[in-house]
Symmetry: C2
Subunit: 636 residues, 2 copies
């Protein structure tokens, strides 16, 4: 039952060899003729030459009179020259054709009218002055676009100006997307246990749309070899490239490679990339078939790195190129020598440095791609990249967006989401990117200058005081200060009605409650340990002490779903799921920042949001917050 791949082929050569094999079945799509006005973003299949010159006639470039330059020679202030209408000149407007026998235009400002048919000029006209030459813009038969060029808006204008109404372009590829799997179901609001919502093909078809490629989504096929083969063969007849989603691995119910093998040929099974190793490259009926793994993140990577490359060769044009950015790595990234890895990164600019932080690498987590700002590529045979190293990131958002992003590390509180939403309502150009690394993680990020703000709630067991003590301990003399946040009610979240009658920390052990904990370094974990200490309860006695979640919401969700009896968290999280809440204490949740960042417009803007009535209203709605002094700066 161990995965066993046919290959672990290097990405570049795997794809290049595959494209070579495809060439043999001549997979270039061929051309079609379209209206120039409908040709935006299409690829010209042949060079385009102008049919006419633009301008196509001698056009007056000024309002004034058209003359023959010869007739004006010798005109000066002292020796003016008289000109007679119809004999020597004609009145013209900008854009008018230059009269046959004339070769220059004199601006109306330089013409002295003596009578309706006679004018006087004080300066000679040089031949062709103020005349737009034929072909000034485009000459007839001049090349406007070479082959395989993407048609941009200005090119549409140039072709029309050059008398070209229709143009030959490469056909648009159609890719077929076949979702497979017994457990997957089409999107719905209330799936049953065991039903996994199929959203990969929706992501893939959106990616195709971004590339200007048409996508056709086929019905879900269960894990049945014959049915998969049937759908595959049909799609290969109807489309130019087919993506078989999931079942591309080598598990018990992975039929993709067998299906391709039995209807065509598999060229590669297994590419040395992570995520995305279980990828299949095959050809069925002369069409490219790509087996793409089921995990959404792996799927997106394989679409981007494999499918896109094949399509580009079909239409002979690059589909889209991500902007690159150099950034400092804020955390060490490990990588396997055996794989070329693609790591989703969060990016932000703190002072004048771009900071890149790796995101959760679980390939099953699609939200990690929603949060990702860019991709870091770690080549084969590299063990990883060290903290602080400069890395090149391929951006998923614009550099401008990243410069406009406020970074918040540390402990998470729902108020951050509320503030984010309010911020974007006030100024749509700004963004917030928050990483849940716990309060201590946040303090360290501020210390290293890797975040604008850190949300912390850290109890000093000695003084019983919150946050200040930690800032003084870890950020001494570093000019850090506090932007006041909220007081929030921490307590034990338990099932509605509190069936086990849990009333304090001791009950957790005594009543053998199944506990769900927060990760080390989180303020809530520190609080629990403090409470266990003063109530003299050994953590060994807490069943599930090692079961860790990253946010208040995810703790609450476990209790709501009945897999845990209790967990420490804030009131608002309990309220979301209608859980009972046993208050334990009020704690301060504040933000810390470096003093010199206080006038950073993003930080200042965030402080404004904190002070706003809208946020206070939102927090009242969430419940369990006390907001006096929120947004005020406290220097230490």
């Amino acid at each position: 039952m161990k995965y066993s791949y046919l290959d672990n082929k290097e990405l570049g050569s795997a794809v290049d060899e595959f494209i070579e094999s495809l060439r043999e079945s001549d997979f270039y799509l061929g051309e079609e003729e379209v209206q120039v006005s409908d040709a935006l973003d299409r690829i010209v299949s042949q060079a385009v030459f102008a049919g006419i010159s633009a301008p196509h006639y001698y056009a007056c470039a000024m309002d004034g009179i058209a003359v023959t330059a010869k007739d004006t020679f010798g005109a000066t202030d002292t020796t003016p020259v008289m000109l007679k209408r119809h004999r020597d000149f004609e009145t013209v407007d900008t854009g008018d054709p230059l009269p046959e026998d004339k070769d220059a235009v004199i601006m109306v400002e330089d013409v002295i009218v003596l009578d309706k048919d006679t004018v006087k000029i004080h300066a000679a006209a040089s031949p062709w002055q103020h005349v737009r030459q034929i072909g000034e813009d485009i000459c007839q038969d001049e090349m406007i676009l070479p082959s395989n060029t993407k048609i941009e808006p200005a090119a549409i204008g140039a072709m029309l100006a050059g008398g070209i109404g229709r143009v030959k372009v490469c056909k648009k590829p159609v890719i077929g997307l076949i979702p497979t799997g017994d457990e997957i179901v089409s999107p719905r609001p209330n799936p049953k246990a065991g039903e996994i919502i199929e959203f990969n093909t929706s992501i893939f078809s959106a990616m195709a749309q971004k590339w200007g490629v048409e996508a056709k989504i086929y019905p879900i096929v269960v894990d049945n070899l014959e049915m998969i083969k049937e759908s595959l063969v049909m799609a290969c007849e109807e489309c130019d490239l087919v993506v078989l989603n999931a079942g591309s691995s080598a598990g018990r119910e992975d039929y993709a490679s067998k299906a391709i093998e039995e209807t065509g040929r598999v060229y590669t099974h297994g590419i040395a990339i992570r995520p995305g190793k279980p990828t299949i490259l095959g050809i069925v009926g002369g069409k490219a078939v790509i087996g793409v793994p089921g995990y959404p993140v792996s799927g997106i990577i394989v679409m981007e790195k494999v499918v896109k490359k094949v399509l580009e060769n079909m239409i002979k044009s690059p589909l889209s190129q991500g902007e690159k950015l150099e950034a400092n790595l804020s955390r060490r990234v490990m990588s396997s020598l055996k794989y070329q890895e693609f790591v989703r990164m969060k990016l932000g600019k703190v002072k004048d440095r771009f900071i890149a932080t790796p995101l959760n690498r679980g390939a099953g987590v699609v939200t990690s791609f929603v949060k990702a700002d860019g991709l870091l590529e770690i080549p084969l045979n590299k063990e990883g990249i060290e903290v602080g190293e400069k890395v090149e990131i391929t951006l998923l958002r614009s550099k401008e967006d990243i410069e406009n992003t406020l970074l918040i590390n540390g402990s998470h509180d729902p108020l951050i989401d509320q503030a984010h939403d309010l911020l974007k309502r006030k100024d749509y150009t700004k963004h917030i990117s928050s990483s849940h690394v716990g309060s201590m993680g946040g303090i360290m990020a501020v210390k290293r200058g890797e975040t604008h703000l850190a949300g912390i709630h850290l109890l000093d067991e000695a003084t019983g005081e919150y946050n200040k003590a930690y800032v003084n301990r870890y950020l001494k003399n570093s000019g850090a200060c506090i932007i006041k946040g909220v007081k929030r009610s921490q307590g034990l979240m338990v099932a509605r009605g509190n069936p086990m009658g849990i009333n304090d920390i001791k009950d957790l052990a005594d009543k053998k409650a199944r506990y769900v904990n927060r990760q080390k370094g989180s303020g809530t974990r520190v609080l629990l340990d403090y409470l266990l200490g003063i109530s003299r309860v050994d953590e060994e006695k807490i069943y599930g002490y090692d079961r860790e979640e990253l946010t208040h919401l995810s703790v609450a969700v476990q209790i709501a779903s009945g897999s845990a009896d209790a967990g420490l968290g804030i009131y608002s999280a309990a309220k979301v799921y209608g859980l009972d809440f046993v208050p334990v204490c009020w704690e301060r949740y504040d933000f810390i920042t470096a003093r010199e960042l206080l006038d950073d417009e993003k930080v200042a803007g965030f402080a404004e949001i904190l002070k706003s009535d809208e946020l206070k209203a939102a927090l009242d709605k969430l419940g369990g917050y006390e907001t006096s002094g929120i947004g005020e700066v406290e220097y230490l």
Copy 2:
């Protein structure tokens, strides 16, 4: 008749004030609900929260057996634990829901099967190992997207995974485009003299399409105030923003501002930008109306800098942001203190420097935007930028495209276009960007390291030899070398049948032919002066000596159109327009480059193209070329 604008307002404040006035008539478009799967690139009008958690059930993350961790405690190699099916364990596959009473999964590899209902394990399972927690990806009621966020492919997946099927998004704006003018006609292959093909609105609607905005093009309206008003009012009823194209200036037949004034209100007439000054900002029936100048380049700038900004405020999201690039300026750019200027630039990377060269600034030349790689912005109150200064360019193409662009400066020959087309057929990722700056200009560009190649044909009057002498004179010891080009036939292009019987240079003066010349510094100009010299003809005697064109084709076009009787140029150009050709001499047209660039893949690739049979065939078709040795390198 002098232009007289109401204002010369600074761009930023003009637009901001305009948007403020629009806010009063509440121009925000409002929202509509769409299917998530159709929502790509739409802007969410409200924050989106997950309807369900993902996963929404405890999913086994491995093939194996589901157990209760408690039951496995104490299992070691020496003290294995026995488990009974249905009492202690159930067999599960990846993706299966975890059975109600279980809380961990043991991998099949770690299970020793004793009989069909009994297994043995040698290691304890920790609670929740190999189980995908509920909400591992998304927790119910967690915020997936804040307000005013653009929906990217991954977000579509996240929403569907979160049980969201429909989403509220900002309505798509519809912009109306009204072309006006007596002389303009819809695109056609053979316009008459005085007819100007209307292609601006096609460019504008393509730009709108790129922004994800819908465009509606209205019929052409002649220069008649009442008719323009009528069309304007209708468009304002049907669209969210209206662009009135041309007539925005203050000339005799410019009705745009009057039309807006009489149906609504003009807020600004005249913005301090170049090109694009004659721009009008007005409101009619609560809708934004923007009067855009007629010159295509001005129009594109105003669409990009004004119309786009207004639209962004309508939908509360940035529409598109150009990548920025730092480059060295290869030529001084002058600018007026009174204007914020936008200069189209050509870009390329020579060795490790990005080089930016300003393009022809004629606002009427749409092809200059086809050739442009980026825009240089020169702020108000700046006289210009000096050669070699570092400038920030907003890109119109990707940085990758620019790195893949071969720069050819100097004299132009149609063979460059042919080679460009062949290159793009062979490798669609490569591009050629050629600037017609004449042979001398090319040599200087090589000297300054601002181009990969220069095309030159320079006759050394002393030796009668081509090119080498100049390279030795101007590029001495600079390691420049020659990539052999062609011998081509230079001669006098004259009307078909040579009506004036022009047989040599002397005839030009003797027969008073209307001559059309090439620009100073061009090899053909040098050749003419040489020929005038040896035939003892004074340039004063050549009528039209000062009439300059930049390419062989544009010289030929003037003769073909009857506005000139003769011009010096190459056979292939004469042939294009069926002109007669009086051969004067064969000349060498070669390429020069810096030696260290010979292994630059772009330069090497170009040399390969030169050697190719396809190019030779193309040159034979053009005629007048002799290709022996083409593509060979000649060291000096």
